[in-house]
């Protein structure tokens, strides 16, 4: 697949994952919509174009679990039967990833600041103990960059030159109870990662071309960080950039409006050359 057809196909697949994601949330009457819509493009890119056999992905922002489930389902890593149980009693797919539930999700996360240390441990083992070429990607949220354990792990990864570790920050600028710049201002965030010895690049997290360029760059002896600037609720106008969509479930009308936004995006995508 050449690059332009890859990029076009990624846009189509991301729309399909958004549709699945919205259906899951609508049927379950579940919240955490905004965060999933902000990271779906990153997840679709990783599963379509980045992860190779043996690589590991750690979702450190555990509240993005449903978008990961939808992505895994889209790429055939989660069955129709399994995805139908999302949020229901007896499921392996609760709102935050469960321990020992799915091979594709090795770590139960949900308390922020846990995924990156685990990812760093995996990367250390792959690089120094197994001498394998396996890589690790870890998706964190910008709000998660408040936590000390994340920076402990960053220090560790830089010190040990874990060039097989890639951190992607879903930086949608919103966290639990406010804008990140008002709660605990992280800026200059890219410089912080660089100061921890990461090669850090800042991109539009919904621009597949930019994600592709940043994530395909060959490692250079230090871990990588892609600071992906995203929009919470991306793709559904009524949710975009609104804090409340961290929590709210959709009404029937809102679900219809959301699907209409996706249908419109799909029509535009179909007309692309």
């Amino acid at each position: 697949m050449n690059e332009s057809s890859l990029l076009r196909s990624l846009r189509g697949e991301a729309l399909a994952v958004r549709r699945q994601f919205l259906r899951m949330h609508f049927e379950a009457r579940a919240g955490h919509l905004g965060t999933g819509l902000s990271d779906i493009d990153i997840l679709v890119y990783l599963y379509k174009a980045w992860l190779r056999a043996g690589d590991q992905f750690i979702l450190s922002k555990g509240h993005g679990a449903s978008s990961l489930y939808a992505t895994l389902h889209h790429f055939g890593l989660l069955s129709d039967e399994a995805i139908a149980t999302y949020y229901k009693d007896g499921t392996l797919l609760p709102a935050h990833p469960a321990p020992c539930a799915l091979e594709a999700i090795p770590a139960a996360t949900g308390s922020l600041g846990h995924g990156l240390p685990i990812a760093a441990g995996l990367a250390y083992a792959y690089k120094y103990l197994h001498q394998s070429k396996q890589r690790v990607a870890c998706l964190v949220s910008d709000g998660e960059c408040n936590s000390g354990s994340l920076w402990e792990a960053a220090l560790f990864a830089g010190h040990h030159r874990l060039d097989n570790l890639t951190v992607i920050i879903d930086a949608n600028g919103l966290q639990g109870f406010g804008r990140t710049k008002d709660v605990l201002d992280l800026e200059p965030l890219a410089d912080k990662w660089r100061a921890f010895r990461f090669r850090c690049e800042e991109v539009d997290g919904h621009d597949f071309s930019a994600l592709h360029e940043a994530l395909q760059r060959a490692p250079d002896a230090y871990p990588s960080c892609v600071l992906a600037r995203t929009v919470k609720g991306k793709g559904v106008r009524l949710m975009e950039n609104k804090l409340e969509w961290h929590y709210l479930p959709m009404s029937d009308e809102q679900y219809e409006a959301a699907l209409e936004d996706l249908a419109e995006a799909d029509r535009r995508w179909q007309q692309e050359p």
Partner: protein, 309 residues
């Protein structure tokens, strides 16, 4: 116990290529040999205990069996959520090792004591606790832990009352030892249960004659969860005496005495000698703190006499 631990862990590292040693920047004049011999299988994670335990979980997910070492309070409280979420929820073979259980660190001060480590860890799912009674039990505990596929905590400690008193009987499976047996099965008696190195205090009381001619059974327990099917002798003693005194260098709330009381058959009397928050807000050696909170051989003798009379 640290010397015995280092010796035992060297054997584990030598025999198991998946075993690793991770330290939170501790081990001066103890771990240099391991550090120089095991290359990347020795990892100093720095003064960053949360990351250290998360990294250990990642190592375990990659098939390694890491031993994670620090001073007991640092290896447990700071990183408790990592132990709970990353290790215990995933049933990973991460072996937490806390050096300096109880008041071992004495004059180093309150931040360095570990008086609620067993309480917080015993509540965690899939966690197994090991608290050897004496130096010569450390290797056995390490061997048992090395066989586990799940999480564990090893509490290393030193008692100022350490007494080289040979046990009457040993139960290698549970690490329980009996040090003294009642002389008169019909006379009133007391079952003394020392938790980990807390038993040393009871042994001192035995050795110094304070418990001589007292009708007591003395046991040391070293592993949790309890396995009373194996430790049938202990249970029989408790049923027959109907009187229990437990001794532990740990707070009473959430401690092993409390757990034993809930798990053992009901008794006429059940007393727990345990640590206490600094009664006079003064600080000192392990002996000073043990005396401050009534964890002494004499206090044990008094407790036994009170029960018997």
């Amino acid at each position: 116990m640290r010397v015995d631990f280092v010796k035992a862990i060297e054997a584990v590292l030598a025999g198991d290529a998946k075993a690793m040693f991770v330290t939170g920047d501790l081990g001066y004049s103890a771990l240099e040999g391991i550090a120089s011999k095991y290359g990347r299988r020795f990892l100093n994670a720095g003064v960053a205990e949360q990351n250290m335990v998360g990294v250990a979980a990642g190592l375990a997910l990659a098939g390694m069996r890491p031993w994670v070492y620090s001073i007991a309070p640092f290896a447990t409280y700071r990183c408790l959520e990592q132990i709970r979420n990353d290790v215990c929820l995933h049933r990973l073979p991460v072996r937490i090792v806390g050096n300096g259980g109880g008041y071992t660190y004495g004059i180093m001060g309150a931040t360095h004591h570990a008086l609620e480590d067993l309480a917080v860890l015993r509540a965690l799912p899939n966690m197994r606790l090991f608290f050897p009674c004496s130096n010569d039990h450390v290797a056995a505990a390490v061997r048992q832990i090395a066989e586990l596929n799940g999480p564990s905590y090893l509490r290393l400690a030193i008692s100022p009352y350490t007494t080289p008193l040979a046990p009457l009987s040993e139960q290698p499976q549970t690490l329980t030892r009996q040090y003294a047996a009642r002389r008169d099965p019909r006379a009133p008696s007391v079952t003394i249960i020392g938790v980990g190195h807390g038993v040393q205090l009871a042994l001192r009381a035995l050795a110094s004659g304070g418990l001589e001619h007292k009708n007591v059974d003395v046991f040391g327990v070293a592993r949790f969860p309890w396995d009373f099917a194996v430790d049938a002798t202990l249970v029989r003693s408790v049923i027959e005496s109907g009187n229990v005194v437990t001794v532990e260098e740990h707070y009473a709330d959430g401690g092993m005495g409390e757990s034993l009381r809930a798990a053992l058959p009901a008794t006429r009397s059940f007393r727990s000698l345990a640590a206490a928050y600094f009664p006079e807000q003064r600080y000192g050696s392990p002996t000073f703190h043990l005396e401050q909170c009534g964890l002494t051989p004499d206090a044990l003798v008094r407790a036994v006499l009170e029960v018997l009379h």
